[in-house]
Symmetry: C2
Subunit: 148 residues, 2 copies
DNA sequence: TGGTTGCTGCGAATCATTCGCAGCAACGGG
DNA sequence: CCCGTTGCTGCGAATGATTCGCAGCAACCA
């Protein structure tokens, strides 16, 4: 459990509740979790918790800096604890696989956007889309096979 | 109107319809358009066209390579004609402004992902999120002002 | 310990997108 | 040019994710 989570909430004027503790624990134990997945995890301990509470709680936890979210593919966002290693998701639009790579691969890119446009990039917020290595290979094969 | 759009559709086994022509024209004249916005534009000419047709048509036009889409912020995707200059959207998560920058700023980053992971990045598919220059400045000010 | 007021559960509303289906129309063959 | 096949379309309903409104409960402070 993240050290000082109660203080963090209180400092921002929020109350400490069992629901908030459970949601934070769930985000930390699942390492990537959508609101629905977090609900299921929370309900293992407290079956009465409602999905709308999950949404509201994640919003609060994000506001006080205890969790962040990232967008992988189209579906719902996935939540992470802030203490995790920051990583970028590479999403293959062909086969749907998701690969995590260290955020440091983008250091130069981030610096360029900061230098050129004064833009402070949150590189992990959205995924990078494209085609993975194996789909690329499969593409070459079929091109070679195709007459014309 | 994109040259050869009819051939493009026929080559993939699709029929030529007024709706498809109108949607393509709408995407080209609006330069960024959500399905709803495209509907409105199309209905200026043909008021009977239905939203579900817009969705189905965009899917087809994308499949044959006449349009692409990008995700800006959370809402619905925005469609572009393929002949447009490729640009990246920088979205400020603080104030919501969207700035377009040439995709070439990412050349090195894209090369790094290709070299290191064999991943072929479609850099314009999703936006880069973060904080714009003016929001950054405003942040510094308030920090300076704040007693504590 | 009690009052204030923030939080929660619940059900309904909203928003974007997708589906099912019956009728229409594009287009290739005759 | 005309017909039959079958892809496309409009329409209304279904779906999935997220948000709202509200009444009752509970965290917290005095
Ligand atoms: Mn987001
Ligand atoms: Mn997309
Ligand atoms: Zn792939
Ligand atoms: Zn901004």
């Amino acid at each position: 459990m993240t050290e000082g989570w109660e203080r963090r909430l209180r400092e921002h004027g929020f109350r400490i509740t069992p629901q908030r503790q459970l949601v934070l624990e769930a985000v930390e134990s699942l390492r990537h979790g959508t609101p629905e997945e977090i609900l299921v995890e929370v309900q293992l301990t407290a079956s009465g918790v409602n999905l709308s509470t999950i949404y509201r709680t994640l919003e609060v936890l994000e506001e006080v800096g205890l969790v962040t979210h990232a967008h992988i593919g189209h579906g719902p966002p996935t939540y992470h604890a802030v203490d995790e290693d920051i990583h970028i998701h590479l999403v293959c639009d062909r086969c749907g696989t998701v690969q995590s790579v260290p955020a440091t691969v983008a250091t130069e890119f981030v610096a360029q956007l900061e230098g050129g446009y004064g833009f402070r990039t949150d590189i992990a917020h959205v995924s990078v889309h494209g085609m993975c290595a194996s789909c690329k290979d499969r593409d070459f094969e079929s091109e070679a096979d195709d007459p014309l």
